[in-house]
Subunit: 493 residues, 2 copies
């Protein structure tokens, strides 16, 4: 076996342990009783140490050196490039730091679930200080190894190729037109009336409806399932994708669209190239591209008025509400395009969402670069929230800086992916429309042509191309935020 | 860190990986969609290889030698004894044999699932011959290492301290009175009439009822949960115990008592000594003692007429069936004490169960010791089945020697634990009655005194004592099957 194949076999072995980590992580969020947390955190930490040790086997250095000299096909070169990137990212941190982060993150995240409900910033900060401290150590080590700034080195984990420079320029542009656009849309919508869902929508019925929508979106139930968790996510492995949602029995629209969103993530995973399973080339390209697929499902398909018509039919059928004006097509269309300035990112509409992301981006960028301290975050949050959305979060931590899970376990650098994803999704739709009558396809109810385009251009590419190459091959150009702006103006003005 | 503490830390690390294996194993049985099976099997195999490698680290030999010379407390000596036993059992087999067994066992078990349905003994025997051959090799290697007979060396894996000599004498005694007792009970019950559950008992309602019974049995829901699987089991880890059941919507009595049984396993796990968590001393004493706890819950509590009265109240409440004679206390008491001679062990009642176990014990003992050959098994099965239960299995392999999964992958030596567990349970109850008014406690509905006795005498002992020491300390004598006989006669005559 030559060095390249030894690397591939070694990487596949690591993937087996990441598989177990993904399933046990899903279990932690969706199944595990609270009393299991401490022992699970220790077991997961031991697993992370083992994965770290596998990544740090001394022979890998030699194998990479040999493989880079060997004659390889273009695909093999892509596999090698991604294996090396992951190897470098994984091996640069000392084992003691990896283990400390895993334990501190699990503890902080677990306690946060209650502290958030209690608006307990002091309790949270006591755990979070350690998480931030360890993440800064991580960022500095990564920065030293790559010649990037600390925050750019963290960004690279989620969005290879992204940089503060590019994001600052992208987001500054958004900040130049978004607040005005939001106000114009709010003014326009202030003249419309919408009926809100009121009443009792049992979780069981919502789940049945969600499963029906997943079926229409061609989710593969032989390779995945739907469950519940506090914070909806898409986990598991490509052969067994676990998506979750959260039901509120007083309304059904949020959970329903949440399921559409997670189904987008899931179909990307289910559509990844099986020939490269177990290697990084068989994995999702980046968090931004991952989010582009969920947001394609949610924003480009799910909130298209013609798709909402299908949702209205299904929902009124499942809730036996054919004569309920809440379920009327026009009303649901309005419900699914309402804009409001509000506190919670995960509940935010498409239009205000970038403001939530830019706020977090600016704070975490400065936090990781050491420009601000963890205790400054609530005040900065309040300040930016006032500026971007005109809302005060003073003393309101649960709806402010304690609302998201990401920071609780040190996932700094992740937030920009949401808005990058929204931009990529709009760009993919613009390109798709050159060859597909998208509205006609959505109206028909059989979305196969749309999924075939996504499968061919995005899903089955895995990480064989860089993000820029992927986007250029699929759309003819690299990221161009004009498609996003045009999409928002067309939908909301 | 001295050698003893190095061993403890190493063992705790192994336990972390066994934790992940337990959770992913539970997921495989209770949650995983079929399409996830192949990748999961590979991931689980990689995990087993890792655990095997951890057990085979060369420094362990030296650490054990050093630790055995060190001054240790009595508890530390118990921990060391159990760590060494597990280490020797895990490392004595050559890797080539372990691998051959894994392949042959998986092949035989997989094919058996269909062959059993097809009553295909010839097809099964073709695979099983290899499994038996490899298990005999295993038994001989274990025998050479321990100075035991081959079958005793296999028994030791599940029931440390058990021996053919002791089991022969125990089971010969049972055989001397059991067939007569069964016939007397059948004669007595032939005059009774019982109403069978007929109708529609929704799984959701059965689950709610099961949860209510688990609550009465003081299952700790902060450290465990109830789910569904084809084959009910108790899995997970002591801090997070996962029990499963299987619902049939045409009746509810089996699943309900199945939940009582698994709750017994679960409470043993939940009650294991936390001070020894992660070491073998913090684990269950043996398969027989584990089964003694599930059978204590099922046979000594669950089928006590006074407990069945509570079940009748709860069940008629959950199914809103207060006037249904099926749910009458006297009828449920009869339902839960019906005896019949039948083919299938897992469906057998308390009274005939030992006959099923003794038959299997005698066959696997002689098979592993080389006294009989694999091809002799169907005839021997038929012969013993005729003798013990008066049933012929000639040509009926699916309800005969092909009914159980245990032998398909070479788990020889496990079966005696079931009946040892029933005997220990009866003995524990006899001892408990010396200080506790058990019937009064059960009648009251607050079972706390019973659980306190079990927690103090069994659960919190973990594996600190040998089985004989544990039983003698709890009951004043080592295993005495007279308690079992007296229990059966009192209940059924
Ligand atoms: Zn998403
Ligand atoms: Zn059992």
């Amino acid at each position: 076996m030559n060095a390249y194949h030894q690397l591939v076999e070694h990487t596949k072995n690591i993937t087996h342990f990441e598989h177990l980590s993904a399933i046990c992580g899903w279990d932690q969020a969706a199944m595990m009783p609270a009393g299991g947390a401490e022992a699970r955190a220790q077991a997961m930490a031991a697993l992370q140490v083992h994965i770290h040790q596998l990544m740090n086997q001394p022979q890998l250095t030699e194998w990479f050196a040999q493989a880079e000299q060997a004659p390889l096909s273009a695909e093999q070169q892509a596999v090698l490039r991604e294996m090396k990137r992951q190897w470098q990212q994984a091996t640069v941190l000392p084992e003691s730091l990896v283990q400390a982060q895993s334990i501190a993150g699990a503890r902080c995240e677990h306690a946060w679930r209650q502290q958030k409900q209690d608006n307990d910033w002091a309790g949270f900060a006591a755990n979070w200080e350690e998480v931030v401290k360890l993440s800064r150590e991580e960022a500095q080590i990564r920065a030293a190894a790559t010649g990037k700034t600390p925050y750019d080195a963290m960004l690279d984990l989620y969005e290879p190729g992204a940089s503060t420079q590019a994001l600052d320029s992208l987001f500054d542009d958004v900040k130049s037109w978004l607040p005005t656009l939001i106000d114009r849309v709010l003014e326009k919508q202030s003249h419309e009336s919408v009926l809100l869902p009121r009443g009792n929508y049992p979780s069981e019925t919502q789940k049945s409806l969600g499963l029906a929508v997943m079926k229409q979106l061609q989710f593969d139930f032989d390779h995945g399932r739907l469950d519940e968790s506090t914070h909806p996510f898409c986990g598991g492995v490509p052969t067994d994708v676990r998506i979750t949602t959260r039901y509120s029995e007083t309304e059904f629209v949020q959970s329903l669209m949440g399921i559409v969103h997670e189904t987008g993530h899931a179909r990307y995973e289910q559509g990844l190239p099986k020939a490269y399973a177990g290697t990084p080339a068989g994995e999702a390209r980046s968090m931004g591209i991952h989010e582009s697929q969920s947001l394609f499902f949610e924003m480009q398909i799910g909130r298209n008025p013609l798709f909402i018509n299908h949702l209205a039919d299904l929902a009124s059928q499942y809730f036996n509400a054919h004569n309920d004006p809440v379920f009327a097509k026009a009303n649901l269309q309005k419900l699914y395009s309402r804009v409001s300035k509000d506190f919670i990112r995960v509940d935010a509409d498409e239009l205000t969402y970038p403001a939530h992301v830019i706020l977090r981006y600016e704070i975490e960028r400065d936090l990781i670069n050491g420009v601000i301290e963890f205790r400054d975050v609530p005040e900065l949050w309040d300040h930016k929230m006032q500026n971007y959305l005109g809302l005060s979060t003073q003393g309101n931590y649960r709806q402010g800086c304690m609302q998201d899970i990401h920071w609780t376990d040190g996932s700094f650098g992740y937030f920009p992916s949401y808005t990058l994803g929204a931009m990529y999704a709009a760009q993919f739709m613009a390109a798709m429309k050159k060859t597909i009558d998208v509205d006609g396809v959505i109206h028909s109810g059989d979305l196969t042509p749309i999924f075939t385009w996504l499968a061919d251009n995005i899903w089955c590419q895995g990480s064989l191309l860089t993000t820029d190459e992927l986007v250029k091959q699929a759309t003819g150009e690299t990221l161009n935020a004009e498609h996003f702006k045009a999409h928002l103006e067309k939908r909301y003005l």
